[in-house]
Symmetry: none
Subunit: 248 residues, 2 copies
Amino acid sequence: MSLVEIDDIEGGEILSLHQRILSDIREKILSGAWAPGHRIPFEHELTAHYNCSRMTVNKALSQLAKAGLIERRRRSGSFVRQPQSQAAVLELHDIRIEVEALGLPYHYERLERVKRRSGAEDRALLGLSAPGPVLALEGLHFAGERPFALEQRLINLSAVAEAGEEEFLDIAPGPWLIGRVPWSEAEHRIRAMAADETIADALDIDVGAPCLVVERRTWSAEHPVTHVRFVYPAESHTLVARFTPSQG
Amino acid sequence: MSLVEIDDIEGGEILSLHQRILSDIREKILSGAWAPGHRIPFEHELTAHYNCSRMTVNKALSQLAKAGLIERRRRSGSFVRQPQSQAAVLELHDIRIEVEALGLPYHYERLERVKRRSGAEDRALLGLSAPGPVLALEGLHFAGERPFALEQRLINLSAVAEAGEEEFLDIAPGPWLIGRVPWSEAEHRIRAMAADETIADALDIDVGAPCLVVERRTWSAEHPVTHVRFVYPAESHTLVARFTPSQG
DNA sequence: CGTTTCAATATGTATATACATAATCGCCGT
DNA sequence: ACGGCGATTATGTATATACATATTGAAACG
């Protein structure tokens, strides 16, 4: 397979040259080093840089083009595209990735954290029949300095006890959970809603402004794990779900 | 570019060999001719069938694999994969069924019907590169006496000529199309938006009220078929998508 | 001065070839 | 029968090469 050892970002991984080129360029774009509109090196320059054939470079670039990260123009070269805020509904979306795909710095900020015995409302949201300990979290995802999404989350501590020890001060609970709890089932509810005062305040928009609300319940082996509600200002967000492939 | 003329569904389009192979196989799989688990021809067989090099076939198959339609196993061949749990969001959209599930009488009412040559905006929505005839429809779906959703639709008459003869007075174009045109690909965009005057008027809600907007583009064998936008008043509608993780 | 033409250039697609890798089948010896 | 070993096979990745196509910029022309 003609493999090449590469010192990758985290711990030496073995990547094919093709993948190496792909991830190099992707990294440059997502990190913002190459801003939208920037002309990326010509195929023949990359060919020289990686010391490989043009076919290999071409394959990588074609793939990036199909993924929508770059745009290729004959005779002119290849350019970093203006990103569109998109997320596949079908994947458990990671807001960090969405934000970074926009070329903006991401951070998370906790607003509230309460441990309590589940009330009726908590149980309805989680789908629990018996009372038990839950962790209620509220936090803001930022794109640059602007709030990008408000997150309101319940975690069933009977299913994920370790979560009770976490502060979630500046790490979002989503990625944390995904790394720890294998989910077996999820349900999304998507709707529009007018911002009430709490939401308007958090997201810095007007009361009554339209918002997109995505709620997700997740189960692991029949046990409810978490319920989360993401609230996005309407202008900032479109969900995209595509069926049958366009690959990336 | 070594182009090949293909007699395609409507009006000869020019496809590269690579794309021809891709869509051929995709069609076979999506139509059900090759069921999940079926072993698709070996690369060398396709090479012979299309009279091209293995690289070309390989590229197409790799793409299908990345798209998740097929699975490739060394020494064994390539197999059609079990379909992914994607149907969730897709199936949601027969509005009659949604309404009837609520126990309310359903009917559809046409507001507008215009046949025209596609302008720039039409082409952008449909994803067409060249101008051609389109049918623009606007209609209302009712639940009982109340408007349930506003539908704004474009149909590419180059792909579905018969649609030009239909009046769509009280039958919705969605079900009509589904019965006639096998779709091979669809894209959903979901967002929230404030009602403008047109929408508020049609749906009998206030200007500025939040709405859920679901847009769908559908292709059949690489041909754009239709673009449709459903606008729901926020209170009336929640999308639900349930799924389990699919490996791969 | 504007327009037409043409060559240069970067990408797009295809070829033939080569070797690596993973999985399977069948052979073999115990 | 059983387990291991090598040959076979299909895919995976890469090479060098060739020619097509779109677009740009500059030269030639009226």
